[in-house]
């Protein structure tokens, strides 16, 4: 018998301009001990479905169809009955553990509260049980962890606590909403292993929501592909991945980056003068307080980068990988003059020792594209103004329409505001802005990580095309190892602010990485499974 069954379920949201359909006649079922992977791009309705099952919908939602949990329908339950179901019979694990835990309560209090409320344990029993749960989800020193506050634990540890509280009451069904997306690759891998272990142990019915096809293919038994609120394909993982029936699924699978499928051919000419040389560059955060400076007391500063040295040749794509907080973006910000730094940058024969040395020529030749186009494009400016600024500053002869055409956007977009464009289109505008001054080096700071996989593939293809035409060098910062292996000529691995390894892409496949951290990174992200197209 199915634990969770959704039959002919449709969901509409009332907006100022009428009803907008979020989900359209969804049919799915999860049996005991089964994992159903729900895959879809952003806006496809994945999270809406999770909230519908949890019975936490805004008042402007209108539903049709049925949802049933072990034969009972939570749709007709009263508020009090739903409150008893949540946590007790359906658990949920959210994307970002730092926002799903209350920062003012200790981890132990939050875990014990679940046990007290749903399993009617006493405080003491709940605390002891909580400690046991912490040990079970692989947290070292559980007694100590119980007393810690969320900010005193790492992202991976917090997500383990969230998982512990989801499993705490042995629910029949658990919803996982992108539980590893906010985590580093290495941590994400550990969380996935934990998930698989607990899943096998408790044989709970799991709905695993993700945008990452490769990941779903590893954790799920069945997979359902959601596209604009409709389930386009559903079936066994092997069946769907080996022989996708629907066009959309095929396109999704084709867009997943595969390291063996190189997008860049050839290599930059060796032996010529490097374009940029970074010499022992260090970045420290935090300024010395006035009083400390007065009495000459030294204050501890946080190091963002420690003596990083690397060089980029003309026309080369240098990939920089590392987990969050490893100093990748700090390096990018230092190179564009957004951070103070020590050490030096040698660019075009000139030595740049600080932000004051960055003159017009340097600013013109080194451009940056940021991660979130929502934040990097001014929402109050039209595309015309956004693109005309670099032209007026550096006097390029290119026309705005030509710039748009270069990034494959119609010229009619010049009068649009950023909010009238999709995520991928916005990122194209940001790329067009960077290329307006004909730079020699473009720093791409995680530019594809906020985009859907199909959009990402198109943006990457555009970048490769621009590189081929203009001979621009890239500093391509990413956490996606499969993607960087498709693109880069060389890969720099950063760890805790230091550059631990710089290896050639050919060496990676022949001799393999030397540094243990690089090996750990590579092991955490196995290449996606092959499928027959």
């Amino acid at each position: 018998m199915n634990v969770l069954e959704v039959r002919g379920y449709s969901l509409d949201y009332a907006t100022a301009t009428g009803f907008v359909r979020a989900l359209d006649s969804i049919d799915l079922a999860i049996a005991r001990g089964e994992v159903l992977g729900l895959v879809g791009e952003s806006g496809s309705g994945k999270t809406s479905l999770a909230w519908a099952i949890m019975r936490h919908l805004p008042p402007r939602a209108r539903e049709q169809g049925s949802i049933s949990l072990a034969g009972q329908s939570p749709m007709t339950a009263t508020e009090a009955e739903i409150a008893a179901i949540r946590g007790r019979r359906i658990g949920m694990v959210f994307q970002d553990p730092s926002t799903s835990l209350n920062p003012t309560l200790t981890l132990g209090q939050q875990l014990a509260e679940v046990l007290q409320r749903h399993r009617k344990l006493t405080r003491r029993q709940a605390w002891a049980e909580g400690e046991a749960m912490m040990a079970r989800v692989g947290l070292k020193q559980p007694a100590n962890m119980m007393r810690r506050y969320p900010h005193e634990a790492s992202g991976g540890e917090k997500q383990r606590v969230v998982i512990a509280s989801a499993f705490a009451c042995q629910p029949e069904c658990i919803l996982f909403d992108e539980p590893t997306t906010a985590l580093d690759v290495v941590t994400a891998r550990q969380i996935l292993d934990l998930f698989a272990e607990l899943q096998a142990e408790t044989s709970v019915a799991s709905l695993y929501i993700s945008h990452d096809l490769a990941l779903v293919s590893r954790v799920a038994d069945h997979v359902a592909v959601l596209h604009r609120g409709k389930l386009v394909e559903q079936g066994e993982v092997d069946a769907v991945f080996d022989a996708p029936r629907e066009d959309y699924t095929r396109r999704l699978l084709a867009a997943v980056p595969r390291p063996d499928h190189r997008l860049v051919s050839g290599k930059p000419a060796a032996g010529i003068e490097p374009l940029v040389e970074v010499e022992r560059l260090s970045v420290h955060y935090g300024r010395t307080p006035f009083l400390s400076a007065l009495v000459g007391r030294r204050t501890a500063q946080v190091a963002g980068n420690r003596e990083v040295s690397l060089s980029v040749r003309p026309g080369e794509i240098l990939g920089i990988v590392g987990e969050s907080g490893s100093g990748k973006s700090t390096l990018a910000r230092a190179l564009t003059g957004l951070n103070r730094f020590e050490g030096a940058v040698r660019f075009g024969g000139r030595r740049i020792a600080g932000r004051r040395d960055m003159d017009r020529a340097y600013r013109r030749d080194v451009q940056i594209v940021f991660q979130h186009p929502d934040s990097s494009l001014n929402p109050r400016q039209r595309v015309r103004e956004i693109l005309s600024r670099p032209l007026t500053l550096y006097g390029g002869e290119a026309r705005i329409e030509a710039l748009l055409e270069q990034v494959r956007l119609p010229a009619t977009y010049v009068e649009r505001f950023p909010h009238q464009l999709s995520g991928g289109e916005k990122q194209r505008v940001a790329i067009a802005r960077a290329f307006a001054s004909c730079p020699k080096l473009v720093i791409c700071d995680e530019i594809t990580s906020s985009l859907d996989v199909s959009v990402q593939a198109a943006v990457v293809e555009l970048l490769v095309d621009l590189q081929r035409r203009n001979g621009t060098a890239y500093l391509f910062i990413t956490h996606d190892l499969n993607l960087v292996r498709q693109l880069a000529h060389r890969i720099a691995v950063m760890y805790r602010g230091e550059l631990v390894e710089l290896l050639d892409i050919d060496d990676l496949s022949t001799t393999g990485p030397r540094h243990p951290y690089t090996r750990e990174l590579l092991d955490a992200v196995p290449p996606p499974r092959e499928y027959k197209s």
Binding site: Q367, I368, S375, S376, P379, Q381
Partner: protein, 274 residues
């Protein structure tokens, strides 16, 4: 713009605010044509009259028609209040945005100075400035504008701080834009919405502050029919006719309430999440 108006009219306070402010604007524009008498037409035999068919709101100590004086006085009262608020808002927005953009020590220096000025009550501060500049409508406008600047600076800076962390500001710095362009073109348009709300609410304060200054004899001078001044003059004759003090006070209150409601409505309308 049309969308904003529609959202504004959907809330009760927005609708009421728009109606009252609209009425005030009509009076400001057409007041002199609507007035049955001149503001300074004396009628020594018809002094201290209560409201009647002839004088709808009664007459004052010189037999002048109060309704006509109110209709004429709307121009000076409301326009000067808006002017003063606009002045304070503009200065505050510029200082606040610049301070947030500069950051670090400069920000500290600017904001601590602003805090120090903020600690002086605004009426006292306005009195000080009027005393320095001399008694006139112009100096009252300046005084209220300057007295409003620190508060607007604080409001603007708190919004602008969030904007400085946006990547479009970083992108502009990395592109080598000058500070002036970043403050005026990149940041200021993005802090406008909360400032507009704050401004409409402050117009109400400005009307009251202006009336207070006139009441104290430091703003508009007789025989002007500025509303605050009318209240001040009527005070001495309250025992002869309380209508004289009631009508201008009600007029000031109506402006204050109207702009306050409009500000409340705008806050909801400009916030897309409600």
């Amino acid at each position: 713009m049309a969308e904003l108006l529609r959202r504004l009219l959907r809330t009760p306070q927005g609708l009421l605010g728009v109606l009252i402010v609209g009425l005030i604007l009509v009076i400001v524009v057409c007041g002199p044509w609507l007035a049955p008498y001149g503001p300074d037409t004396l009628a020594p035999r018809l002094r201290y009259r209560p409201p009647s068919a002839e004088f709808l709101l009664g007459t004052d100590q010189y037999g002048r028609d109060i309704l006509s004086r109110l209709l004429y006085g709307a121009r000076s009262t409301v326009i000067l209040a808006c002017l003063a608020t606009g002045l304070g808002t503009l200065a505050g927005a510029l200082i606040g945005t610049t301070s947030a953009f500069l950051g670090g020590r400069a920000d500290e220096a600017i904001m601590r100075t602003i805090d120090a000025i903020l600690s002086i009550p605004s009426l006292l501060f306005a009195l000080l400035i009027v005393n320095l500049l001399g008694k006139s409508s112009f100096s009252a406008v300046m005084a209220i504008g300057i007295a409003f600047t620190p508060g607007m600076t604080r409001v603007t800076r708190s919004v602008a701080l969030a904007v400085t962390k946006q990547d479009y500001v970083n992108a502009a710095i990395a592109r080598g834009e000058r500070g002036g362009y970043i403050v005026l073109r990149e940041m200021l348009p993005n802090v406008v919405a909360p400032i507009v709300v704050e401004m409409t609410i402050r117009v109400a304060f400005a009307v009251m502050l202006f009336a207070t200054l006139s009441f104290l004899g430091l703003g508009a001078q007789p025989p002007s029919s500025e509303w605050g001044l009318m209240v001040a003059e009527a005070r001495r004759f309250m025992h002869l006719s309380f209508w004289m003090i009631l009508w201008p006070s009600l007029a000031v209150a109506m402006v204050a309430i109207g702009f306050n409601l409009l500000g409340d409505g705008l806050r909801d309308a400009l916030n897309p999440r409600t």
